[in-house]
Symmetry: C2
Subunit: 313 residues, 2 copies
């Protein structure tokens, strides 16, 4: 029984903490959800050659796999409750062990236990893929992406653009600024803040593909237009110190993606409340209007909408 698959499951067992996982020794996990909650369910994959190159630290890939899924939960206001991993074994046991270590760090940091999953062999030379299902609980309903109305404000948590610069830095082999590289390698989903914020929102989503494209998608789903003020796009101190804060920097930040911040449509009378509820930076960056599509300005100046709004699938 010392197969590669068995050895990997033994590693996973080292990060299992929840009895619902049945020590990964059963056909399935058995979990009792809290009474009176709705469940939020999401599944995201990462594919070698598409979502990662293969020379990233394996622990960062594992972290990101958890973070992108938890960001979907946070966008719906859900608290993480558990996850299932689909793992394709590689030829290198050290790589696999580093992946499990990163998975364990993310599980511990975000309080989301591993409940089960599947481990499979990969054909020689295959591009590897990993899938993760995350389950969360929400007590008072989860806003749709489609509830924004003309007049509602567009708010975004945290800052935008760090991960985009971090990716460029990583590709160039740079090791500084650490804050920007970390934003790309170890993104932080808004798991703690999501539940407090969505009660004020008419629509919510996360910023995964880019602020502009994700905002336009929310407007499309809601049957209205959205106008964004680039001058209001929140940038981090680290980003401004590294790249400045002119319009080109703001446009790059708003189209880079991988931010994993929350995007909220908020009725104007709730604007004050959402700012109060956020125990973090939260910024009004635009508003929804009658019509369709995306328009941009920078303060009072109209800005042409670029061709590239973010990551297009």
């Amino acid at each position: 029984m010392a197969s590669a698959e068995q050895a990997f499951i033994d590693l996973l067992r080292g990060i299992v903490t929840d009895p619902a996982a049945r020590e990964l020794r059963d056909d399935a996990a058995v979990w009792i959800p809290p009474a009176g909650c709705a469940l939020v369910l999401t599944h995201d994959m990462l594919v070698e050659g598409v979502h990662f190159i293969g020379d990233e630290p394996p622990g960062d890939i594992a972290w990101k796999l958890v973070a992108v899924n938890l960001s979907d939960l946070a966008a719906k206001g859900a608290r993480p409750a558990g996850m299932l991993l689909g793992y394709m074994l590689g030829p290198d046991r050290d790589w696999d062990a580093a992946f499990v270590a990163g998975l364990g760090e993310a599980a511990s940091r975000f309080g989301v236990p591993l409940l089960g999953g599947d481990t499979v062999a990969a054909p020689a030379g295959a591009a590897r893929s990993f899938g993760l299902t995350a389950i969360g609980t929400v007590a008072n309903g989860a806003p749709a992406r489609s509830g924004a109305e003309p007049g509602h404000e567009l708010w975004v948590t945290g800052t935008i653009g760090d991960a985009g610069v971090g990716l460029s830095l990583a590709r160039a082999g740079a090791t500084e600024p650490a804050a920007l590289l970390a934003a790309y390698r170890r993104p932080m989903p808004r798991s703690a803040e999501g539940p407090a914020l969505v009660g004020h929102a008419s629509a919510s989503a996360d910023v995964s593909d880019g602020l502009l494209i994700d905002a336009r998608r929310m407007a499309e789903a809601s049957g209205c237009a959205v106008e964004i003020d680039l001058g209001q796009v929140p940038l981090s101190e680290a980003l401004m110190a590294f790249a400045g804060e002119d319009r080109a920097v703001r446009l790059a930040a708003a189209t880079a993606g991988d931010d994993y911040e929350m995007l909220l449509a908020v009725p104007p009378e709730r604007g004050e409340a959402v700012a109060q509820a956020a125990r973090l930076r939260i910024t009004r960056v635009g508003q929804f209007c009658v019509g369709a599509g995306l328009s941009l300005r920078d303060g009072n100046a109209v800005v042409q909408v670029p061709q590239h709004l973010g990551y297009q699938h």
Copy 2:
């Protein structure tokens, strides 16, 4: 937005029936579980070149992906409640469409709605992999694999070995006997029967890798030995007509796997009850004993345990 990914999601939308899926237009599914139930959660993957060759009908691959997951749920007595799909796009849209058609047939046949998932691009020439998470509900607890005790009987539902012969036939390009080929291509998990049976069991699992190996795993997990009578292994009429029923046939059947029947440890005083509760063929094929490992007999004759007990991961 007419990307390959978007086109595939549009196809999936055609089989979506449950409002919890939010028409696959949101960041995640939002589902309210029935009150007072435990949830059973499983995730299984199928990988090209490992679990399928690539020349199978795509609808059969989709069906099998659903069936293997639902078999894990059935083994814990859970009723299917929903599923999330992780899909790697291929170069051929017709293939993708046939996959979705098979997925829809399985969803409809087993009453398990598609709730969400992820669609990703594949690098050119990549071995494709698909993942499925299945969620089920169970009202009165789900037996572990580890609850068998010396003296408990080993029962198995249905018949064993059809899929193994079906696989050999498929590899040889045969088109008959249809029942054996169908057992391999479109396995039927015991979703309807599982909930009625597990209440009588001290341990349960499904037969996915082979009757002998899965029974030995149950014995190992339970800290006891198991003895199986090959003469009692239930064979279908179709299998006996095609291959006979001598000891070699029975041994092949008991080590082939892909049966997706249920394996139950049953205290002797519940044997009558489990046979009554099953609205299908169910057969006592052995018993658990003090000790460790697997032993075999055929009626009164002791049979040497073969090297190969089933599919080894």
